[in-house]
Subunit: 404 residues, 2 copies
């Protein structure tokens, strides 16, 4: 039952700047590197390899903490857990796949109903280990809910800023779980600015995407789970809804770690960043051959989680796409809603709009010939569909379901 | 990944009337018994015992279907699955427990966000096996969402009736997943009457609680998981939010099956039925020493899932409480809301109101001395808290979170 408490060795050697490669010591509080870029956690992969085997791993409880050796939390008593179970990988059995295999990884089963729990539980555990008492974070909704829950459990104070059009259900969830939540007249980057300007005065640790080094380590467990669930053979393509991109960067990081360790063989998956056509800075940069992405003006989409006009990890996302022979692609709101309704009514899976965007993109790329019958494709549904209220559902309700 | 498809033997011998014990053949469509009571599925437990061991079980994927031998679905191709992962058992670490151990089993992680998925996935699989094409069901929300999703996946038509004050989020969820949903001016028993009156003309298979025999088999997996998660030692007390009572009956059934097989030893848990003081027919019957429970008039509570004025399995619930040396207890809405907020802000767990009712009851019974320092108590949180909108959350939001 208390799956998390086993004392296991950890193998962090140091942190390093994702742009310039300079080193930073482990076990200290860090934000961005001196170059203002995200820090990546590095491990002694040789020692890690020797310490566990796939067979030992297979016998452990099926939660995120089974991968302790791949994570930065050194001491079991610092683990802050709300039950991060392995999420299921569900096969689509009625949708058009052109002869290929289509799997949906349903991240809505995690605590607080989204994949944000992965990053936040590891980051809050590290914050606890490092003695942090106050955390602030900008959010489009799900990350804030996860921080509120984990911080409350850890007895850390959390202050959360979200755009003022964040749906009531998200704001309520954040408040219910003990955070202070502020609605900001702006987008997520505007929320981030408020934290940057006030963090010294408020003694806040800044939990913005990639501004602390550990959320990415939590998110990389998506890649570990995927590899293990598929018998240490990776899928050929991964469609990932991309806002800040932590999960895409994290998965690519761990695939390289596993490759170095010799745990996986063969080509790594093509990584596909899915964005909304109303906010597609990564797609624009990818297609322009640029190393960085410029701020997207007037960002708008029903998929609020990927309404991220500017991402500090832009170059890491773009690198992963190119290294993996993948690509970036955008879909419009209409196709997101249609994809959501098709998946719900035909497969019984109520995706979030961001998850539905990956299916819309899959359909688009299948038609364009970038996905073939040989492909095993994984779509990431990053959150439960329950938190969203799409017009398409209202129309179906009004049309087909009169009051008795 | 496709954890469900293994071909495994099953051991159903027959079905039997839960009141009179007369037998009915397996593998045929059944509703209630001739006496108008629920049918229970019986197994050849000796053959079942010989076919698997705890060690073999431990190596299987951690989902509901690992317990295939304990379930009635004979052929793998009839399994309708949306990824029914083992739900986590989370230890409360800050709440007052009088020195005892308090664990929360978070059923909100199942498909469609509630424990209803367990019963419905097994029942829909059996419906598919038996060639059923149309299903109707009354619901207070969560069961309807589960039926909509599984029926859509199985290509079975589903028609769902819910009270007209069912929250919009539930009605939308049901509609989004492909069911026809009707709002009825009445309570869940009134919805059930509409189905009873129209099922022959509409060719509906009636999926009302305990009116088909297989939901209870799905629900009993809560007991199997609990036993296995605790190393085949059961907790001393289980608090269960009780409306129709399928889960309580199912857990008690499987505990007896496991006891017969010699898989568990020692005293079985005290089973505690938790109801709302505005709808407590089982509590009233238990305290009166009655065998059946009378209809509760003017039923009302914020915990809609336990707003069930009359339960066809009333005598089975009452039997389980008495055989287990347990009891029934009621809590008012105010204490449910307070319990919900305490659990959310202190433990980081956003329970549904029905789940919160079990914690309110636990506090009450701890104070009353019915729970002691020796007890390991499990509370069932039957659904994600995201689907609910409690006044207490609004008050917290208004008080503590002004607009920036």
């Amino acid at each position: 039952m208390d799956n998390t408490t086993g004392t296991r060795p950890t193998f962090v050697s140091h942190l390093e700047c994702s742009l310039q490669g300079d080193h930073y010591p482990a076990d200290q509080v860090h934000g961005l590197s001196k170059a203002g870029k995200p820090l990546l956690v590095r491990y002694d992969l040789k020692a890690l390899s020797k310490s566990i085997s796939k067979e030992v791993l297979a016998k452990r409880p099926t939660d995120l903490w089974r991968y302790r050796e791949f994570l930065p939390v050194r001491r079991a008593e610092h683990i802050v857990s709300l039950g991060e179970i392995t999420t299921p990988l569900i096969r689509a059995h009625k949708l058009e796949t052109g002869g290929g295999t289509l799997l949906i990884k349903d991240e809505g089963r995690l605590p607080t109903g989204s994949f944000k729990a992965r990053g936040i539980c590891v980051a809050v555990s590290m914050a606890k280990a490092l003695g942090i008492t106050r955390i602030a974070m900008p959010t489009n909704g799900n990350a804030g809910a996860a921080l509120a829950a984990y911080a409350s459990r850890a007895e850390i104070e959390s202050t959360i800023f979200c755009p003022d059009d964040t749906p009531e259900i998200n704001v309520r969830e954040i408040a219910a779980q003990g955070a202070k939540v502020w609605r900001v007249n702006g987008l997520i980057n505007d929320c981030g600015k408020i934290i940057a300007e006030n963090k010294d005065a408020q003694n806040w640790y800044d939990f913005s995407t990639l501004k602390e080094p550990y959320r990415i380590e939590g998110k990389k467990t998506m890649g570990l789970e995927l590899a293990e669930q598929l018998g240490w053979r990776l899928p050929s393509v991964i469609f990932y809804p991309t806002g800040g991109g932590t999960g895409l960067i994290g998965m690519w990081k761990v695939f390289k770690e596993l490759e170095t360790m010799g745990w996986i063989a063969g080509p790594l998956p093509r990584m596909v960043a899915v964005q909304a056509s109303g906010c597609a800075p990564i797609v624009r940069a990818f297609e322009a051959g640029a190393e960085y992405a410029e701020l997207w003006k007037n960002a708008h989409t029903v998929a609020a989680g990927i309404r991220v006009p500017v991402a500090i990890g832009d170059f890491l996302i773009l690198r992963a796409l190119r290294e993996s022979n993948g690509f970036a692609t955008a879909v419009d709101d209409e196709s997101i809603e249609a994809a959501l309704m098709e998946m719900a009514t035909r497969e019984g899976l109520l995706l979030c709009p961001e998850g539905a965007a990956t299916y819309a993109a899959y359909q688009q790329e299948l038609a364009a010939g970038r996905i073939s019958a040989d492909d095993t494709t994984v779509l990431f549904n990053c959150a439960t569909g329950l938190k969203y209220s799409l017009p398409a559902v209202t129309r179906r309700l009004d049309r087909e379901n009169p009051i008795f």
